[in-house]
Subunit: 343 residues, 2 copies
Amino acid sequence: LRELRRIVSICQNGQDMTDKLQPAQPGFSIGIDLGGTNLRVAAYSNEFQQLDMLSLRTRLEAGPAAVLRDMADAARSLHAAQNGYGKFVGVGIGSPGPIELPEGKLRAPANLPGWDGLALRSELHKLLDMPIIVESDANAAAFAEWRLGAGKAYGVDSMAMFTLGTGVGGGVILQNKIWHGAMGMAAEPGHTVVYPGGPLCNCGSHGCLESYASATGVRRIAAEIGATAGGERLQGMLAKHGELHAHDVATLAREGDAASIKVFEEAGAALGLGIAQVVGSLNLSLYIIGGAMFDSLLASSQIYRMTQPENRGQFEVRMTNVFPAHLGPEAGLLGAALLPWSE
Amino acid sequence: LRELRRIVSICQNGQDMTDKLQPAQPGFSIGIDLGGTNLRVAAYSNEFQQLDMLSLRTRLEAGPAAVLRDMADAARSLHAAQNGYGKFVGVGIGSPGPIELPEGKLRAPANLPGWDGLALRSELHKLLDMPIIVESDANAAAFAEWRLGAGKAYGVDSMAMFTLGTGVGGGVILQNKIWHGAMGMAAEPGHTVVYPGGPLCNCGSHGCLESYASATGVRRIAAEIGATAGGERLQGMLAKHGELHAHDVATLAREGDAASIKVFEEAGAALGLGIAQVVGSLNLSLYIIGGAMFDSLLASSQIYRMTQPENRGQFEVRMTNVFPAHLGPEAGLLGAALLPWSE
């Protein structure tokens, strides 16, 4: 009866996630952040402190089987090192998408060439006899930001996160849970069209958000604007380095170069359109922006123009709030480690 | 204990809405469909059969107080007529938006001039001592389509509906419930931007979906295309009637007039972009299109081009399915009557 009452209370208050995420008993989980370049594997305590981390190179050239072995070896080694810490709850993986859930079947992921069709969860399970949960890396980061970062700071049960890096990823948390949609493909804000007829994206559409608000997008816009009158400093940067990096464009923007500022204004305007699309569908109060590209974007602060001016920097639950992420680059790894606690 | 077990079962199976919507005891509810032109008030049985309906003119010129009195009088009269049918569960209202929920506070609704700031639920409650639930009309229609129309036919727990009329409304059902967002303003697909820099919408933005995929949008596009070479039949229609109606443009399109077909292709392409935005946020499997404008749009069938070709007309739970609504113009009224059963 007490157990029934507990479940009823959980149902009525919608607090099951929080409940399970703060276990009374000491314990630990292992998070894996699988990237196209780096493979990070870490053990986290039940209080979400990092106990131990292994940072490896993702050996893409050796093929998926080798990388899966690296993941399994790292997880086993971390597990052995924490022995005695308390209950081990499992392994969470944040993987590049697109990925079908819960099986973790990869669908031609741009950052993991040669992994198309691989069922991440079951393949890793063959090498590693532990509970394994797979998420997209952007969903894992959004989950960490909701649970321990911006979402916690503002006390919301629902939010959307946009992760700006080489591409644009995203995650939507609705009522304390990651929203997966019909096949685990939610959310994909990087591939919604913000400018119909815009540049061709590698997804096959034209004018996707990712073609503007990512590092790749910024390089593309910078090349365009650099070729126009006023773009001399961008041209000079290109001549000097042989290519235009987003962080170099950001440096020029911070130095006041009008053409470089315009690059980020265009990227920021596209991001604003992408956020507004989610506002129109879901009317959430909190939209969080993270990822390595975001610092560069802040150079222009254009993204704040899409929110009510009186609302900047101050959270209002009945408004549209757009704020920076709190957790930085650890979000994806930490989010992966949170997953086993939430099952 | 039995009650606890029932609640646990409901929580675990997510079937609470369905449970409550099929009560064992006979009973009835009253639905009110408040429109800018017509006010329809109807009693529905617990099996969702219409028992009785009053169709009135919305006396906008007499002011909100008079219309509220009409609503209260009609509800009282229907209630008295059903006396003896069984338990009365309450009144549901579908109102033009934008509207803040659950209070039902109207925010400058275009279709109810002079009603800005009126708190629909509490004002009606002063005249009518019955349980009252307010929703936006588009949410009410989406709820009916989910419960008794297309959503029931395809067996989904989540879907989005776009209602194409004078404007474009929408509703999102997530896991058997209407999704309201932070202040009850979800969903507003009519006012997400599909073509940045497009025509000015009366919401203040440029290039909103409503400026293309509504009757108003079709008239605007038809006027534009009518003024170009090949638009002679549209011009002739304009000269004959003094103005271009969407249904006249649809008639021309069905007769094969290329310029008129192009009008609906443009409207349909915009709708496709609007649907794709929700796909990007939520990855739902079912998108339903309803409203009086939809028959006209079908003249071009452009909207199906945004879905996978192999998927047309056949529902696949792991795909993006775009289908017509099942219930027709009764959806809003029926949805309003369903609301009291869902509380």
